[in-house]
């Protein structure tokens, strides 16, 4: 039992948080997994989520016919196009082109989600899902931008001292307090 004890106690790596939710449960009479959910919602959407300073998760849905429609308009044979997921940084940065700089690129044919690596911790990235034909990339979907956790100490060492009331007053007067790199205006690039 001791090994079980320590195993359970250490499930999260170091802690016993929420152990009450990890206790031995019903060994028999398990409930059914529940109703089936739609495999498709008939929408075009790419969601990008940061998991940690180095990893992101992308999941997408392409409505029926969108891919074929784009290919037909471009006159590209369907068999020559590969569904491709791109991770990009620098969106909206005037130093780069309209889409930013490619950080990672994967052929995701047949998939509906993907884990992405290679972005710089603390940076803001976004993703594009598109069709790649040779060197040509035809974007189909774009995600909203996502900030990655910094994952290390800040280089900024200047300390500003304020009360809660002073911060609120400054906010009310439109004088923005020190803002995190995670805060950025919404651009909406669906």
């Amino acid at each position: 039992m001791s090994s079980e004890y320590h195993k359970a106690f250490n499930t999260s790596g170091a802690d016993a948080r929420e152990i009450h939710l990890r206790e031995p449960g019903p060994g028999a009479g398990l409930p059914p997994p529940g109703p089936d959910l739609p495999s498709s919602y008939g929408q075009d959407r790419l969601i990008l989520l940061a998991r940690d300073p180095h990893t992101l998760f992308a999941t997408w849905e392409l409505s029926g016919g969108k891919r074929e429609q784009v290919l037909a308009q471009s006159g590209i044979p369907p068999e020559s196009a590969r569904l491709t997921l791109r991770l990009l940084k620098g969106w909206g940065d005037p130093r780069f082109d309209a889409h930013g700089v490619i950080v990672a690129e994967h052929c995701v044919e047949g998939s509906h989600s993907w884990y992405l690596h290679g972005a710089e911790p603390g940076s803001v990235v976004h993703a594009q899902l598109g069709l790649k034909v040779g060197e040509l990339f035809i974007p189909l979907l774009a995600s909203d931008p996502v900030p990655l956790p910094r994952g290390k100490e800040s280089d900024v060492i200047d300390a500003e001292w304020m009360t809660i009331e002073e911060v609120l007053e400054r906010s009310r007067r439109g004088l923005h307090a020190d803002s995190s790199p995670g805060i950025m205006p919404f651009g909406g690039i669906h």
């Binding site: 948080r17 989520l49 998991r51 020190d178 805060i183 919404f186």
Partner: protein, 531 residues
């Protein structure tokens, strides 16, 4: 001489596990066990400190799903039945063990504890929320608000209406339970995303908590490290979790709960005794925990010794003294490097104390009583601290959580990442639904819209993704997620088509009794996303 402060924060939370459709479920047992082993013992501790004039200061979160279940008539009725069943079992155990003195002594302990539990339950008339409220109003307890259904807020980054509503509804549940505005807020899983603090500020929240690296990796380096709060750009004080004091309690290798004298959690008579004997008391028809356990951890062996309550209690108070001794040394050292008294913030899951770590309430009792004796360390709440030290460093804490590896992986990995496509779609649909609801919409449409919001809130509970990740009770978590999203989609369709099934709607309202006052217009407010 006073050198600094210790802030103990207990996070009490259970997902909403009310199942009126079945007479007995293992998930409802989570609530009953936590009431018996943690929530009532916490109240008993505070009663004891008040009686003995001990100047305690404890910070406690009681999440909205837990508040709803503690106030639910059906669950309270069932809890009393649960206690009656335990009383019968303990009475049988006193007879069964009478020829085994060491085991019998443990059975007597359970009988005495159970009697006190029943007395407390009856004294509080089965209503624990007003009891906690009493200790906030008249004692040393400070109660925190939390998110509506313990939704994991950082992963709602692209649907700000969802995160904002989780916060707003959570604060409203607090106001209704405790008759005052919340001052502090427990972020589920300590999940922090810069920018979401603005919605805490909108609700009048003055402080919250993050894990250590949330402070240490802030936008500018924290001058006092973890031992003073930062003020976020939205004007919320953010306190950092102290790793040293946490490790002493949580760590598998160094933590107190693993002491060999403490009660062994995994040796329960629900599994150990013959089926014919125990079956009448296992209402689910399968082997399960009863809460009656006769062994101590003993060591890294399957051959467990009989539990000795007196020896375990003595060890708990010894550990409490050691904990305070270490805080004294820690705070003295910090004080010598700071020009203000340090605050050491030690947050724990409340259910650790009593349920998982049987002797945990005794440890807490020892910590509070020992802290009252030492001149070096005072117990404090964040509100007390901010009143004394209102000026703090302004910086934005970093994105973080207290989960494994410190970020979002527990709630976003291979076992549970499938939920986000559905949750995001449902979130978008809910916002559209609420915004498209005509002003003259009839009551049935409004009720259906509110129920749709309730179903999505329940699907958003961080517990389901957590359970899927940890690998126990997975079918239950999957089922809950699927059912709530399925119900949401059905309600969304009904409202859009103006064809609400009133009987089915009523059945869902009866099954999900939390937030009966919910008004889905809370999702109407336009917000710029955090990204």
């Amino acid at each position: 001489m006073l050198h600094g402060y210790l802030c103990i924060v207990l996070h009490a939370h259970l997902p909403f596990v009310r199942h009126p459709e079945q007479p007995h479920t293992l998930e409802e047992d989570w609530l009953y066990e936590a009431i018996t082993e943690t929530y009532i013992p916490l109240l008993q501790l505070m009663e004891g400190w008040e009686r003995d004039n001990i100047p305690y200061r404890i910070t406690l979160s009681l999440t909205p799903p837990l508040l709803a279940m503690l106030e639910d008539e059906l669950l309270c009725y069932r809890y009393r039945e649960h206690l009656a069943n335990l009383e019968e079992l303990v009475a049988k155990e006193l007879i069964r063990t009478k020829d085994e003195p060491r085991v019998h002594r443990v059975a007597q302990m359970y009988a005495e504890r159970l009697q006190k539990t029943v007395e407390a339950w009856d004294r509080y008339r089965g209503r624990l929320v007003p009891a906690f409220r009493y200790f906030q109003e008249h004692g040393g307890l400070e109660i925190l608000a939390s998110a509506a259904t313990h939704g994991y807020l950082p992963l709602m980054i692209h649907t700000p209406e969802m995160a904002r509503a989780q916060i707003a509804i959570g604060c409203e549940a607090y106001r209704r339970a405790f008759g005052r505005n919340p001052v502090g807020f427990w972020l589920p899983e300590c999940g922090y995303l810069p920018g979401q603090d603005r919605w805490l500020a909108d609700e009048g929240i003055k402080y919250t908590f993050v894990d250590s690296h949330g402070i240490l990796h802030a936008s500018s380096r924290p001058r006092y490290g973890l031992y003073a709060p930062l003020i976020s750009s939205a004007g919320v004080a953010v306190f950092g979790r102290d790793g040293e004091s946490s490790k002493q309690v949580w760590s598998a290798d160094e933590g107190y709960p693993g002491d060999f004298d403490y009660r062994e959690f995994f040796r329960d008579i629900g599994y150990d005794l013959p089926w014919e004997y125990i079956q009448p008391h296992l209402k689910h028809g399968i082997r399960a925990n009863t809460g009656i356990k006769y062994h101590r951890i003993t060591g890294k062996t399957v051959d467990k010794d009989i539990y000795d309550p007196d020896r375990a209690a003595a060890k708990a108070y010894l550990h409490a003294s050691n904990f305070i001794f270490n805080r004294e040394r820690q705070i003295e050292w910090l004080h010598s490097h700071m020009d203000r008294p340090p605050i050491v913030v030690a947050p724990y899951d409340a259910e650790l104390f009593g349920h998982w770590w049987f002797e945990g309430p005794l440890f807490l009792d020892g910590v509070v009583r020992r802290a009252a004796e030492t001149p070096v360390v005072n117990l404090i709440t964040p509100s007390d601290y901010l009143a004394m030290h209102p000026r703090n460093q302004q910086a934005e804490p970093s994105q973080s959580s207290w989960g494994l590896k410190g970020y979002h992986e527990v709630w976003l990995e291979g076992s549970n990442d499938w939920i986000y496509r559905h949750l995001y779609t449902a979130a978008d649909r809910l916002v559209k639904l609420v915004r498209s609801l005509p002003d003259h919409a009839d009551n049935l449409l409004r009720r259906a819209t509110n129920q749709a919001a309730r179903e999505l809130l329940l699907a958003q509970s961080s517990d389901w993704a957590f359970i899927m990740k940890t690998g126990t009770m997975v079918p239950y978590a999957q089922r809950r997620t699927r059912e709530h999203i399925h119900n949401f989609l059905r309600l969304d369709e009904m409202v859009r088509q103006h064809r609400v099934d009133p009987w089915w709607l009523e059945s869902r309202e009866r099954a999900t009794t939390l937030f009966p006052w919910l008004d889905a217009s809370v999702y109407y407010k336009s917000e710029a996303p955090v990204a």
